[in-house]
């Protein structure tokens, strides 16, 4: 079972990301959960959201404390919150940033694999707005193989209608551009 | 819908205590509440019906001759009809009279 934690700010669409990923997985006849952290945070506040994806039925309904993957939608959160908290040593930390490993390492205590993607840059170019949730979904899919890239299509269409192609393009571009910048010490 | 007037057992209580006999309050005669009863002097009556319209029990009815009378099964003896009758055709008298 793959467990994912998303970090974003209220209004950036972290909840939409988890929903889209869950729907894509379910479309592939997999089992999945997508759920927000049920806090009182409003627009702008740091928020988290979660996914579970598995080939078997998922029974567990408690929180996710040791994710396999952490996705950070907003680089300003790095250093502000402990984005790597509980992340499995074998896991991946995916950050929307153009920063170098050295720069990131100043604020992140994680010895495992780290990947980056210029989600904001891609979102500006493809969507015209700095909303990175669908973009980073593409990067996540590449790194984890949680679902096939094409499986995002129908949930994106359902969700975004007319502007779905732009979101698909953004996801695809992130899928192609995401880079693992550190293989970690293990 | 058939139903027993008075439910002897819990089984006979209608679901939800619904009542399917509209106007069945008529079974209860409020006439016994009365201390005085209205008497019409039809010689003075102008058949206007003010007694009919003002009766809280709806027990004043028009007879075949167009005069009015109270159904004493329901008349509580409030005296409104006598009080409101313009030509003073109605008088309240003690029940025992």
């Amino acid at each position: 079972m793959l467990e994912i934690r998303w970090h974003g700010r209220g209004g950036q669409g972290a909840v939409t990301s988890v929903e889209l990923l869950a729907l894509s997985a379910i479309e592939e006849e997999k089992y999945a959960q997508g759920f927000p952290s049920f806090g009182p945070e409003r627009r702008g506040a740091p928020v988290t959201a979660f996914n579970r994806v598995d080939d078997k039925q998922i029974k567990i309904r408690s929180g996710i404390y040791h994710p396999d993957v952490v996705v950070v939608l907003d680089e300003s959160l790095v250093g502000l919150v402990d984005v790597a908290e509980g992340l499995k040593p074998t896991g991946i930390l995916l950050v929307n940033t153009t920063k170098t490993l050295a720069e990131l390492k100043k604020n992140i205590r994680f010895e495992g694999r780290i990947a980056t993607c210029d989600g904001t840059g891609i979102a500006w170019k493809e969507l015209g707005v700095p909303i990175t949730n669908t973009t980073m979904l593409g990067a996540l899919v590449k790194l984890t193989g949680a679902v096939k890239l094409e499986s995002l299509d129908s949930p994106l269409k359902e969700r975004f209608g007319r502007i779905a192609p732009k979101n698909q393009a953004a996801a695809k571009r992130a899928y192609e551009e995401v880079r693992i910048i550190s293989q970690g010490s293990k | 819908m058939t139903e027993k007037k008075w439910p002897e057992t819990w089984q006979e209580v209608n679901p939800g205590c619904m009542v399917f006999r509209p106007g069945s309050a008529k079974e209860y005669h409020t006439g016994s509440w009365r201390a005085k009863r209205p008497i019409w002097d039809n010689a003075k009556c102008i058949k206007c019906g003010v007694c009919y319209i003002y009766c809280p029990e709806g027990c004043v009815t028009e007879n075949a001759d167009g005069f009015f009378e109270a159904n004493l099964d329901y008349c509580k003896g409030c005296g409104i009809c006598a009080h409101e009758c313009w030509p003073v055709a109605i008088k309240m008298v003690n029940e025992e009279e």
Partner: protein
């Protein structure tokens, strides 16, 4: 003697002499109910039902009328009737309307209009049911709400409500040695309903039965929310004699305390003329035990308030009239 007899001329103008005879003889609220002798509210309900006719569903708030009319296994109602609780007649009535509308639209019931009418006392309307009433009126259901205002919680034993008049003695605002009865002025609910932009708002009393029934009929026709505030005598609570039930309502009008008017699309109109020279409020107060403790000074305070309220209403009526004539002139 009743006041009508004293001023036959004035009354005849407002009360067509033989009109009562023409009123439908069908009773939808029948005798055998357990209301007090001379109950103004029971009378008002009887008249209201006559005006509504058979295609009506009544929702009744908890209160005297529900208690006295529905002792299982009997009912005084010849109309479909539902009672749920004290504060929610307007909400239940709005559900009745929504249900009937949906079922009619879907062809599940006969294709004809059945009016949802919710009723409650002053407590069930102006106090505990106020929120539900506001909601139902604001949502623009096709329903009529009639408040039967006898100015206190009579069902539970004459406790003060927001409909209780200034200085009236009630069991929770008694005329004590230090505090002479209810200390605040009565809430003006019809005005609050006007502020809801309700299509039709009217005041009424069974003392003017034809006026009341005409208003009910008018409200019934309106395809939307309407509100009637019906002022009813409670001989028990007011400590007045049973036979003066009608007279007190008439005096309330003749003193200008409770004028009968209607507000259609925001326009005010008096429906029953008030004598040029209004009677002094004392005439209304004196027959009622709840005001027996009042001093002349206190009566004067009430008189001044009645005068102000009357003048305020007259300004609205005048304003509506001039608006009308302005509109008429413009359209010409």
């Amino acid at each position: 003697m009743n006041t009508a007899t004293k001023n036959p001329k004035n009354v005849i103008e407002n009360f067509d002499l033989y009109a009562p005879k023409l009123v439908s003889k069908e009773e939808f609220f029948v005798g055998g109910h357990r209301a007090c002798q001379g109950c103004g509210e029971a009378l008002a309900i009887r008249l209201m039902c006559k005006a509504l006719g058979k295609d009506t569903v009544i929702t009744n708030a908890t209160g005297c009328m529900e208690v006295i009319s529905s002792l299982y296994p009997t009912t005084a109602w010849n109309l479909p009737w539902i009672h749920v609780a004290f504060p929610n007649a307007a909400a239940v009535g709005s559900g009745v309307e929504a249900g009937l509308k949906a079922l009619r639209r879907k062809g599940k019931i006969a294709d004809r209009r059945v009016k949802s009418v919710a009723i409650g006392g002053d407590g069930g309307t102006m106090d505990i049911g106020f929120q539900a009433l506001s909601g139902a009126m604001e949502r623009c259901h096709d329903m009529l709400y009639v408040c039967f205002d006898n100015e206190a919680y009579m069902n539970t034993g004459i406790q003060r409500s927001s409909g209780t008049p200034f200085l009236a003695s009630t069991t929770t605002a008694p005329a004590g040695k230090k505090i002479p009865g209810n200390q605040v002025w009565k809430k003006n609910l019809p005005e609050i309903m006007v502020a809801h932009n309700v299509a039709y708002v009217a005041t009424a009393t069974p003392s003017y039965p034809i006026d009341f029934m005409n208003k009910v009929k008018k409200a019934r026709q309106i395809k939307g929310p309407s509100y009637i505030h019906c002022f009813v005598t409670c001989p028990t609570g007011w400590r007045s004699t049973s036979e003066t039930c009608i007279k007190l309502g008439r005096l309330a009008l003749e003193t200008g305390l409770f004028p009968l008017y209607e507000v259609e699309d925001g326009k005010y109109r008096l429906t029953v003329e008030v004598p040029e020279k209004r009677r002094p409020i004392q005439d209304y107060l004196k027959g009622q035990g709840r005001f027996r403790h009042l001093t002349p000074d206190q009566i004067q305070v009430i008189q001044e308030r009645v005068d102000i309220e009357w003048e305020t209403l007259m300004i609205k009526v005048e304003h509506s009239r001039s608006k009308e004539s302005l509109r008429a002139r413009r359209s010409r």
